[in-house]
């Protein structure tokens, strides 16, 4: 049995992450279109509509994680599918050897802070998919006390920092990989 606190923490964490991602895609619409184009997976006429459509999906999923207006399993599977598509898109371009464009997956959305594609990003997405799918395990039900909310806060803050640090390290590694080897 899974404690509901774990489900709650994952829900809020993933929900906020997806919402922030959607916000950045909408705020830098042009940049996101370029990113989609760079992935070279969609026919050109589909890129502009997809650039509008993907953030909408993310907003739906994110708010559903937070407010649970769709059923939990549907949200979890939907998010896992979306993250899986992203991982696949990165994987295909890694296979093609096209890695030197911004992956469109760095948060903070700073223009100078572009993150190249790497296997680390695929691994990161697989981990996130794992987190989303954990919530499918049937859980027990119990009322939350003050201590639970404190734990929730602590876990979310720590997870945010660690997620940012992971992204930074993945990006550092991609930079180091552009150096001379041997």
């Amino acid at each position: 049995m899974l404690d509901p606190l774990i489900v709650k923490a994952i829900s809020i964490g993933l929900g906020l992450m997806v919402l922030i991602a959607a916000y950045h895609k909408l705020a830098n619409g042009a940049a996101f279109r370029v990113t989609l184009l760079e992935y070279q997976l969609l026919p050109q006429w589909l890129v502009a509509p997809a650039a509008k459509f993907i953030p909408v999906i993310e907003i739906l999923l994110g708010s559903s994680w937070l407010l649970s207006f769709y059923s939990q399993p549907m949200t979890a599977i939907g998010s896992a599918a979306l993250l899986g598509i992203y991982a696949l898109a990165i994987g295909i371009n890694l296979y093609r050897g096209r890695v030197h464009f911004d992956c469109g997956c760095s948060f903070g959305g700073k223009d100078e802070n572009e993150q190249f594609l790497s296997g680390g990003l695929v691994a990161r997405n697989v981990l996130l998919i794992g987190a989303a799918l954990i919530t499918l395990i049937p859980g027990s039900n119990r009322a939350f006390g003050f201590g639970d909310y404190a734990t929730l806060m602590g876990a979310l803050v720590a997870a945010t920092f660690l997620f940012a640090a992971t992204n930074q390290l993945i990006s550092n590694r991609a930079t180091i990989n552009t150096w001379r080897k041997r």
């Binding site: 602590g154 720590a158 920092f161 640090a165 930074q168």
Partner: protein, 211 residues
């Protein structure tokens, strides 16, 4: 008892969050360092022999009396990295181990030699012993330094196995030394040449589209 657990939990959470923050800050700093330390190559002087020219073959005794040939086609098909150093140059002392390590990783196609000038043979012998240079040829020759117009130390010259000058420059770091080998591998002597090539390619493609 419960109180103790609550207190310990609060403290642990604080520690976990601070640690996570420290990890993030460290990762960020490493990232900033990467951005700041942009790749830089060896400083190449414009005087002296040009890259691509055939070098003059010079034979001379090294500090142990063995005859060494520098320049000209190499019979063992090895590229030669000649590093000009001096006992009075502090940067040389720190760069010599770097050069040795680089020569070791490239040992199947590169031989490393050291060159200096002056007449105090004993001083150079002690210097070579101090830096553990016994396995590398170390020559004292004013003519060699003059030939390549070495004006500042540490200076490195990379001669290809066919005897042509591949690259040269003032070297202060491993990156500078690597840039010499990189220049040989790519056949592009300087960053300026590279930018020029890219510009030319761009111009050509524009012309093609226009016509």
């Amino acid at each position: 008892m419960t109180e103790a657990i609550v207190v310990s939990n609060v403290i642990l959470w604080v520690v976990v969050i601070v640690l996570a923050l420290v990890v993030l800050a460290l990762a960020r700093q490493v990232g900033v360092l990467h951005e700041r330390v942009a790749p830089a190559g060896a400083l190449m002087p414009t005087n002296g022999p040009k890259v691509g020219e055939l070098t003059e073959s010079l034979s001379m005794p090294d500090i142990n009396g063995k005859t060494v040939t520098i320049g000209g086609p190499n019979p063992d098909k090895l590229n030669t990295l000649v590093m000009f150093i001096s006992p009075t140059c502090p940067v040389c002392k720190s760069l010599v181990p770097t050069a040795k390590s680089l020569a070791n990783t490239e040992r199947n196609r590169l031989q490393l030699m050291f060159a200096s000038d002056g007449d105090k043979l004993e001083q150079h012998q002690a210097y070579a012993k101090d830096l553990k240079l016994e396995q590398f040829p170390y020559v004292l020759s004013e003519k060699l330094g003059m030939g390549y117009e070495v004006s500042k130390l540490p200076f490195a010259v990379l001669i290809g196995s066919d005897g042509t000058l591949q690259s040269k420059g003032l070297v202060n770091t491993r990156e500078h030394l690597e840039s010499l080998i990189e220049a040989m591998d790519t056949g592009i002597a300087t960053l300026q040449d590279y930018v020029g090539l890219a510009q030319q390619k761009f111009d050509n493609s524009v012309k093609e589209k226009a016509s």
